[in-house]
Symmetry: C2
Amino acid sequence: MIYFDNASTTKYKPEEVYKAFEYYVREIGVSPGRGSYQLGIEASRMLFKTRKKVAEYFGLSSNNVIFTKNSTEAINLFFNGFLKQGDHAIISCYEHNAVLRPLHQLKLARIIDYSVVSREDLELKPKEIYEKYVKENTVLFATTLASNLTGRIVFSSDIMEFMKNKGLTTFVDASQGAGKIRLAMTEQNIDYLTFTGHKDLMALPGVGGLCCVKQPSWKPLIQGGTGVLGDSYVNPDVFPEEYEAGTLNMPAIWSLKSALEVCTERFEENKKIESELMNYLLDKLNGLEHVIVYDLDYKRVNTVGFNLMNRKSNEVVEFLDRCGICTRGGIHCAILAHEALGTKESGVVRISMSAFNKKEEIDTLIRYLEDCR
Amino acid sequence: MIYFDNASTTKYKPEEVYKAFEYYVREIGVSPGRGSYQLGIEASRMLFKTRKKVAEYFGLSSNNVIFTKNSTEAINLFFNGFLKQGDHAIISCYEHNAVLRPLHQLKLARIIDYSVVSREDLELKPKEIYEKYVKENTVLFATTLASNLTGRIVFSSDIMEFMKNKGLTTFVDASQGAGKIRLAMTEQNIDYLTFTGHKDLMALPGVGGLCCVKQPSWKPLIQGGTGVLGDSYVNPDVFPEEYEAGTLNMPAIWSLKSALEVCTERFEENKKIESELMNYLLDKLNGLEHVIVYDLDYKRVNTVGFNLMNRKSNEVVEFLDRCGICTRGGIHCAILAHEALGTKESGVVRISMSAFNKKEEIDTLIRYLEDCR
C-alpha cells in the first residue's frame, strides 16, 4: 500500500512517538492536575513539559498554550471567545471549513461578519489588501499557513506585520504545514495560532491547541472540572486550566512532546527528503499532458492538488485505490478554495506526502496516472 | 504503589484495551470519513462498530451516539444545544462541576435558570420532588448516575419514569459508574446520557460521548470539517457528523470498543470482586473510630469519601502518598456535594477502586489510617 493522504493524518509516525505514547499509557496512566500523589504530580510535570515544548516550537516566549482535542476545537474556542458582537474578520479563500464554518455560524447568528480575500487579491501588497478589505469594525486578520487542498503556502510574514502594525489582531491556522515551516509567533507578528498533532507534526490523534502571545481574557468554549479552584461555580480565571475543562488526553499530549522533538531534530533532513520528493512529483505530473496541477507556481508544503482532464476527482481516487494507492478526492473540507479554483464540481485529487514516502512510490503513481485517461 | 484513584482515571486497563489501542495506532493509523481508500473505509467501519457497541451497552435501539473528547464536552454540547432561552432545569446536589458549570454559565448569561435537589429531598418520592422543584418553564431533569465524591448512586429509575411521564426530558451523567451499573436508556426513560471512556469503562483517555434516544436537532458545539457535504458553509444536517467536526480520536475510540466488550463479558465477575472489596473497605473504615464515612448507608459504586477527625483531607492524602498510596483529597470538582455534606473546608479523602485492586491493599491502607490520628 502506498499512503499519499498525509494531509488528512500522517499514518506512519516516528518510532519515538509510538514509544512515548505507549510509555504514557502503560507506565503513567493517570491524569494530571487531579491527584496530589507522586504519579499525578509526574503527569502534571509531563503536561507542563509538553506545553513548554509547544511554546518553544512555535516561538512563544511564554507557555501560553491551551490544549484541545484537535485544531477544530481550538479554532472554535478562539473565534467564539475573541470575536464580539459587531466585529468583522478577514480570512483567505484557502481556509479550511474548520475556519469558515465557526465564522459563518457567528455570521448567521448576527454576531459578526467576515470577508474572504480572493485568490487574486492574495497577490496584492499588504497595504492594498488592507485598503480593500479592512472596515471600521475589522478586528482580526486570519489566514491558514498552507492550503490543505493545493499545498500553497498562504501565510505571509509581510501581511501579518502590516496588519499587526495597523492594530489588527492576527491569527494563523497552522494545521497544515506546522511540521514543515517553522513559525516564530512573536517575531512574525502572530497573536494566535492553532495547530493539530496528528498531521505533519507526526503526533498521535486527539491533541491540538491554541497558542497565544498574550493570555486571553475571553470566555472558554467548555465549562467543567478544571482540577483547580473546584469551589467556583464556573471555570476559574486561571490560565490555562480555565480553557481545558475535563480530562486531558495525556497519552496523545505526551506523544506530541516526542513528535516535536523529532520534528526539531530532523527538520532539515526531513525537509530535504520532502522537497526532493515534491519536486520529483511535480516534475512528473507536469510531464503528463492530461493532468492539470493547481497552484503549480506557488511555494508549497508537501501537498499537491490536481485533476485529470474530463475526470471527476473521485473516479481517479477510486481507480488509484484499486491500484493500492491512498489519495483523497472531493472537496477536502475546503469549499472556499474550490470556489476560487473553479473545482467545485470535479473536486480535486490530492497527493500529500511525508518523509516516509519514497521516489519509487511516485513512479508507481505516475505509471498508473499515465494509464488513466 | 497502591492506586486508589480510579474515579479520576482507571490507571490499569485490561490487556485487550492496550492491545486494541496499539493495533489502531500501529496498523490502521488513518482517520475515518476522510479518504475513500480501503484503509479509510476500514477506519470508518471501526468507528461504526464502536458506535454500535456503545449504543448496545447503554440500551439504545438506534446508533444515536455522538463521540466527544470526554464527558465534559458531551455535557456542554447537550446543555448548550438542548436548553433554550427561558428554560429551567433541575439537577441533583451530587452533580460534578462538568454539569454545574455549563448550567451556571448559561444562568449567568441570563439564558436559563436551574434548581438543585437537596440531599434530603433526594429521599422524597418522585411526585414530591416534582411538586417541590418543577416550575412552569422546567424542561429538563438531570442527574448523575453516582456521586464522584461519596460513591452514592443518585440515579433512580422511578424518578426518571415519573419525570418522563410528566413530559420532562431526562438526562443522566454516567461518567461515574457506567462500567459498574448497566443502564438501559430506552427502558429506563433516559433521553440523553453522557459517558467518558477513561474511568470505569476502562478505555484510554480522549473519548467520551452523548447517547440520544432521538437524534437531536439543535446546534452543535463545534463547527468545522465533517468529512461529508464539504460544500456547506456550516456543519451539514447529517447525524452524527454534524456533532463531530474535526478529526476523531480513533485510537481511543477503538480502545473503547474493546473496553466495552471486556466490561460486558466480565460484568458479573468484576462486580463480585468490586463488591467484596468495597464491603471489606467499608467494614474496616467503620471499625476506625476517628473516621467519618459519608453516605455510608446508601447503595454505592466503588468509591467512598471519608475524613479523619480534625484533619484536612489533603493532609491525609499527602500522608498516604508518603506511604505509597494514591488517593485524592480536596473538592473533587463537586462543590455542590461538599455544600450538601458540609465538607467545603476540610474536603474529603476519596478511595475509588477497580477490579485490579486487592484486599491486601485495603489492609495496608487501614494500617496507615490507624496510625494517622
